[in-house]
């Protein structure tokens, strides 16, 4: 089961900071998972092009492969410093 994490305004819109999700069949990249989440939670993922991702704590792109054991995080562009 994959562990999904949400941060900042995405966490607020999802109403949770984490969830465990068995990856649905055929969902094997970050981009595919974002599309799936967009369909499930259209409000939270209303602007998918501004949402960034990390897989196992490394920045990822839509093409990054994912597996059922991964930690997958979604968040807005970072604003530290």
């Amino acid at each position: 089961m994959a562990q999904l994490l949400y941060f900042a305004w995405l966490r607020e819109r999802m109403g949770r900071s984490t969830e465990h999700l068995p990856l649905p069949p055929g969902i094997d990249t970050v981009g595919a998972l974002m599309s799936w989440l967009h369909a499930r939670d259209p409000g939270a993922f209303a602007h998918p092009t501004v949402i960034r991702a990390a897989v196992n704590q490394s920045f990822a792109t839509p093409a990054t492969p994912i597996a059922d054991t991964d930690e997958i995080a979604f968040f807005p562009p970072v604003t530290g410093g």
Partner: protein, 159 residues
């Protein structure tokens, strides 16, 4: 090996400077960037700033950025400290220190580190405004541009 910390407590800049050079006499210069929480004279000033981060990934990202600086410049020591949680205007929020035999490496590495820290480490700022509005700070393209310039220029000549 860089000193990297993510913490809610304040940091002591003088103590961090002293720690950077403790027991050594070969350091020629220290580059320092101290970032403060800023309010403004705007009609709706910032009353507080809350920093959220991604525990674990944040430290990894900072270690990766520090390793890049250490590979590019001849640094003898490096410190990156970033605070999280609720901070007030005037509070220190981030500290970058670099030690090198020569000033140019220390100054350039410090600028490189703060530019990349702002764009490649998972922190998010939320502002509380005087009007009661609470809003997430949006990423600025000027920060991305500042980080990108380090990809376009050659490493500076040692002086």
């Amino acid at each position: 090996m860089a000193t990297i910390r993510v913490q809610s407590a304040p940091f002591d800049t003088a103590a961090e400077l002293a720690a950077l050079t403790a027991g050594r006499t070969d350091v020629g210069g220290i580059g320092c960037f101290l970032g403060l929480v800023r309010s403004s004279a705007a009609s709706d000033p910032v009353l507080a700033l809350t920093l959220e981060h991604y525990p674990g990934m944040t430290e990894r990202a900072l270690e990766h950025i520090a390793a890049q600086a250490e590979a590019r410049w001849s640094l003898q020591a490096c410190t990156l400290i970033h605070r999280v949680g609720r901070l007030l205007p005037g509070d220190p929020i981030v500290l970058v220190l670099t030690a090198s035999p020569h000033r140019q490496a220390a100054l350039d590495a410090t600028a490189f580190l703060i530019d990349w820290l702002k764009t490649a480490a998972p922190f998010w700022k939320q502002e509380e405004l005087a009007s009661g509005t609470i809003r997430w700070v949006e990423a600025r393209t000027t920060d991305t541009d500042a980080a990108a310039r380090w990809s376009e220029t050659q490493p500076p000549i040692e002086c």
